[in-house]
């Protein structure tokens, strides 16, 4: 390095002597380009911060190129210095750009982290709300079932319409029975996925076939009452069991009355009903 500077120094002094009788040196296009490249980025704060070393190298090489021009050095030598100056300026400019990108990355990462936190808390909130809503809905369902006096059995919720809601040996519902069916219709309007199976039963008095048919007709009467209130027929199954499945003894009047009944089995939330 030292040697080069010494050489340069001597070359300068010699060329000054020579230049005494020379006209002004010609401009070199590569030097002009290098100068333009350097001037363009010289005051860029990003480059000053992160590409400073390269910027200084660009400046030094440019100064060398210019002094080589002044000294009338060979074109190859001038253009070599100009080449280095241009390259250093380009590298500085890349480094400045990268520093800017790095800042963008940092701030974007912060933003992403914030968003992730926000999302997690809003997800937790939503989950909590959903859980709450589900609880409320379950409570409401229970309340409505209780209002209908439905009982939880191993077949699901079962609503029993007692014998007194029908006329003796008749399939017509009394108005007290209509009221119960009305509540069931309201319930089914609200819970659209629920279905019901209406099952008719009798005591063991009389002909079995008659009892079978009476139980079926009573069940159908309930079905009609429900469809009259807007419940779709496809959501209602009907079955007459006759004397089967007594819930009490047929030997006493009270027991027989208990056996004469219509049971309405309410499906689960997916519309499934357990069969007998």
């Amino acid at each position: 390095m030292n040697k080069r500077y010494t050489t340069l120094g001597m070359a300068v002094s010699v060329s000054i002597l020579v230049a005494g009788c020379a006209s002004t040196p010609q401009n070199n296009q590569m030097v002009d380009e290098a100068k333009a490249a350097y001037e363009e980025i010289r005051t860029d704060p990003n480059i000053a911060r992160s590409g400073d070393r390269q910027l200084r190298s660009a400046r030094d090489e440019l100064a060398r190129a210019e002094s080589l021009v002044k000294d009338g050095a060979s074109t190859a030598e001038i253009e070599h210095a100009a080449y280095l100056a241009s390259r250093h300026a380009q590298i500085a400019s890349e480094q400045g750009e990268r520093a800017e990108l790095q800042e963008q990355i940092t701030s974007a990462e912060e933003r992403r982290k914030e968003l992730q936190l926000q999302m997690r808390s809003s997800e937790a909130q939503t989950a909590q709300q959903e859980a709450q809503t589900a609880q409320q809905e379950a409570a409401e369902l229970r309340r409505q079932m209780e209002a209908m006096q439905a009982e939880q059995t191993d077949r699901g919720m079962v609503l029993t319409l007692g014998d007194v809601l029908f006329d003796l040996n008749q399939a017509e519902l009394k108005s007290a029975g209509e009221a119960t069916v009305g509540r069931l219709a309201d319930f089914m309007a609200e819970y659209e996925d629920r279905r019901v199976r209406v099952e008719g039963y009798t005591d063991s008095t009389g002909e079995e076939s008659y009892n079978q048919s009476l139980s079926k007709r009573r069940a159908e009467a309930v079905q009609d009452a429900l469809t009259d209130r807007g419940v779709d027929r496809s959501r209602i199954e009907v079955q007459g069991f006759g004397e089967q499945y007594p819930v009490a003894t047929n030997d006493t009047a009270g027991g027989r009355q208990q056996n004469r009944r219509v049971e309405i089995v309410i499906s689960d939330a997916d519309g499934n009903i357990k069969t007998r």
Partner: protein, 128 residues
Amino acid sequence: MNKHTSMLGAAGIAGIAIAIAGCAGSVEPPTGQKQTAESSIQQAVSSDARNFEPILLNQAQNKLADAEELMDVEMTEANYQRASQLLEQASVDAQLAGARADTAKAKQAVNEINRSIESLRQRMNDSQ
């Protein structure tokens, strides 16, 4: 007149250079520049310039190879000077290739993170 002057100047410089080279005793090969060029190329490669700036990296590698050849051929001042220039250029070419590769990677990273922010936003909007 001009040509005459520069020729004179060149002769002067050459004369002094020869004089100095004479004092030094022997011609020094540009070993330092060669090392710098090699490590610049290596760094560019590890910045994945092979992928992002293959042409410029190749240019640097060719200049290094040309310089090595010149240094092998004959130990003359002219050869060494030319080799030294090639090595200096190889260094800055490689450094620029590496710097451009780094910038390109940073740009990709910015795009990637912005995309993931966008998709987070979308998911948040959808869930609301």
